[in-house]
């Protein structure tokens, strides 16, 4: 391509409406900022779509929109999150994530410097997860019509032969494994919200779990019934969903659930249940009892599963309750979160 007039002023410049209007300014933003950060052969061809070869088999596809606020948080930013989240939804099917697409919706006035940092985080997250961002789109909306930046990523991957992980696959007697401590992402985010502002060492757990999943599949094979990443709504929402879809219930042991003291403290401060708080680098696996031990061992051998734990089992229950033996010695339900997670005073 011939040089476009002046270079983007990354340090001081910001996105304006001309960067979304299909003219030279947009082409410059895309090639000068996004392609540079994601750099790969597919984007370089400059088409509105990208092509790749696949072998015959089973593929999975997923999408998620990222609207996190603040955009930068301890442990990551919206860019790395947008890669991890979508990679993880692919990985939860036991699949190997391959290609991602990225759709950017940018509010006018957004600083190039921030956009570049975010794009670079995406590029790095993609390289680490061994996936490629092969196609994308950029829209710019007027000030006040977005919240800085939204990213929607979609992803595709391939499932190893014979693997069919799905929410209806849990069976009574299956074990519930969790890959590590809960609530880190949600607490890291909340610590930076203006009205809550508290200080904590907790950083988001945002990470790509595909490699961990590969090791688990190796160890557990078809004994793994299903996996899910407990994001919005936390472990509570995830297990309630699975209970409904698999038509059973769960019994958990609170003592077994890994939780950082700082996360517990922040949740007490805000009146939130850590089981309702979002995670972005954790997974729940429902595993046949005979495979639980090897899968758990494989998890613990992986850096992202060091704190993995067996936290309970699937039980027959027409009411689909997720019950929990509290660490105090009683029993309770772990219900869906109701509505937005708001800090409580009561």
């Amino acid at each position: 391509m011939k040089a476009y007039q002046r270079k983007l002023d990354i340090r001081n410049g910001c996105v304006d409406l001309s960067h979304g209007s299909g003219g030279r300014a947009m082409a410059q933003l895309i090639s000068g900022l996004f392609h540079e950060a994601f750099g790969n052969e597919w984007l370089a061809r400059g088409n509105d779509q990208s092509a790749f070869d696949v072998g015959a088999g089973r593929m999975v596809m997923t999408t998620d929109g990222y609207v996190v606020s603040p955009l930068f948080f301890p442990g990551g930013n919206i860019g790395s999150l947008a890669v991890h989240g979508t990679v993880n939804d692919i990985a939860m099917a036991g699949a190997r994530p391959l290609y991602l697409s990225a759709s950017f919706i940018i509010e006018e006035g957004f600083r190039f410097a921030d956009l570049k940092m975010i794009a670079e985080s995406m590029g790095e997250a993609a390289r680490t997860a061994d996936v490629h961002i092969v196609t994308g789109d950029t829209k710019v909306v007027e000030r006040g019509k977005a919240d800085g930046l939204f990213i929607s990523t979609a992803g595709v991957g391939v499932v190893p032969h014979g693997l069919d992980l799905s929410a209806e696959n849990a069976r009574v007697g299956d074990r519930v494994l969790i890959s590590g401590t809960l609530g880190d992402h949600g607490v890291a985010i909340m610590s930076k919200r203006q009205n809550l502002a508290f200080e904590t060492e907790i950083v988001s757990d945002s990470a790509a779990l595909n490699d961990l999943v590969a090791k688990m599949v190796e160890a557990g094979g078809r004994g793994i019934r299903l996996m899910r990443d407990p994001t919005r709504g936390g472990l509570a929402a995830t297990l309630n969903e699975i209970a409904q879809q698999s038509d059973l219930g769960f019994h958990l042991r609170e003592e077994a659930i890994p939780l950082k003291p700082g996360v517990a403290a922040a949740c007490e401060l805000l009146g939130l249940d850590p089981l309702h708080v979002a995670n972005e680098g954790k997974l729940v696996a429902i595993v046949a009892p005979e495979n639980a031990a090897p899968v758990l061992a494989a998890m613990r051998a992986h850096p992202l599963g060091r704190d993995a734990a067996d936290i309970g089992e699937a039980v027959a229950d027409d009411h689909h309750f997720v019950q929990m033996a509290t660490s105090f010695g009683g029993g309770r339900i772990v219900d869906w979160p109701s509505g937005e997670q708001l800090p409580r005073i009561c």
Partner: protein, 380 residues
């Protein structure tokens, strides 16, 4: 968490449970009301029910200031928030509380009212400073615990000479409500279950002290034990109540002595009495009008009173007639006795006060205890 974890110890709890079981007379029924939602929450959160003998029964009182706020006051707040000049600041708990006809602050916000969630009254002051062209109203709710922070905020607004700041005051008092449960004329319709003792408020008592319960224990002949919100605090208090009943005493005892004394927080009480005065009566969702149970701003502080500045008029909304909250709060019925429980009425779409916050009797049972209604085998 120091001063919390120690009071959640499973081993101590197991022994304490045995002590209670040993001391509770199997021939007797012990019906204790925990007034506070904090206690209700502890019971359900830690599964305390599973650790008490069957003849020790907890009755969940009206002690959640969010739950007891009547729909009419929510409607008033929504009407205020819908004014384009107004920013309404609220504690997060209030967002889902139902007003009339399925409305709520959450829905009003979705429809365009400028409603901001705050964590502290100090945030509301900051919002007023940041928005000089707007009217910032703080939606004040809460028992004696939450009133002093509102008082401090009004002092601060005075000091900063904020002219765009007012308070929609909904602060209420616990002793009149406890009294109401035992003697209100409604009891004739609802019936009454004998209450054998009260677990008294924890954090309310840090402010008002234990003294105000003395009249109460004497007048009604009921034992009262002030207890902390940790589960061992609760169990100890229950044991103390069992002992009072067994010994036919009706005294005020203080289990929560690490934070509560007889006189309370004098400085806080003084701030409150400087700024607030009693209303003749105030409506409680589930209880109806309760005399001398609510606070309003005193005359010299009327410039900070949103009801004065915006000429707000009382709105009254009848409670849903099918809602059994009145009977539940008085221990006559249980959540499952209500036809609406878990069908029309859930935490997502609460109908009555007991479902509104996670500390209401119905919400606590729905969220944490419901499995017991269908219990096939015990979680262990």
């Amino acid at each position: 968490m120091k001063y919390a974890d120690e009071f959640r110890d499973k081993e101590i709890a197991l022994g304490l449970a045995k002590t209670i079981r040993a001391e509770a007379d199997p021939q007797k029924l012990y019906r204790f009301m925990e007034f506070c939602g904090g206690h209700t929450h502890a019971i359900s959160r830690y599964g305390l029910e599973d650790m008490l003998p069957k003849n020790v029964r907890m009755i969940h009182g009206p002690g959640c200031p969010v739950c007891v706020l009547p729909a009419g006051r929510i409607d008033m707040a929504i009407r205020l928030a819908e004014r384009p000049d107004v920013i309404l600041c609220v504690y997060g708990d209030l967002m889902r509380v139902p007003g009339s006809q399925g409305t709520s602050l959450l829905k009003a916000k979705a429809r365009g009212a400028d409603i901001r969630m705050v964590y502290s009254t100090i945030d509301a002051i900051r919002i007023a400073e940041d928005n000089p062209g707007r009217e910032v109203v703080f939606f004040a709710i809460g028992f004696e615990t939450t009133t002093p922070p509102t008082a401090v905020m009004i002092r601060l607004a005075e000091k900063k000479q904020l002219e765009n700041f007012t308070v929609f005051c909904n602060h209420v008092l616990t002793p009149p409500a406890m009294q109401n449960i035992l003697e209100s004329p409604d009891i004739r319709n609802i019936g009454r279950v004998e209450i054998d003792g009260f677990v008294g408020p924890a954090h309310v008592s840090t402010i008002i002290g234990t003294a105000p319960y003395e009249f109460f224990a004497e007048e009604f002949g009921k034992p009262v034990v002030i207890a902390g919100f940790e589960p061992l605090d609760m169990m100890q208090a229950i044991l103390m109540l069992v002992r009072q009943v067994n010994e036919d005493r009706h005294e005020v005892e203080n289990q929560y002595s690490r934070a509560v004394n007889r006189d309370g927080n004098l400085r806080a009480k003084e701030e409150v009495s400087d700024i607030f005065e009693l209303r003749d009566q105030f409506e409680w969702r589930g209880l109806g009008q309760v005399p001398y149970s609510g606070l309003k701003l005193k005359r010299p502080y009327a410039i900070y009173d949103a009801e004065v500045r915006f000429d707000m008029h009382e709105l009254r909304v009848d409670d849903n007639p099918a809602c059994e909250c009145g009977a539940i709060l008085r221990g006559v019925k249980k959540p499952v006795d209500c036809k609406l429980f878990g069908t029309v009425c859930t935490p997502e779409t609460p109908i009555g006060s007991c479902m509104v916050s996670s500390e209401g009797a119905c919400a606590a049972h729905w969220t944490h205890g419901r499995f017991r209604d269908h219990q096939q085998r015990r979680v262990s």
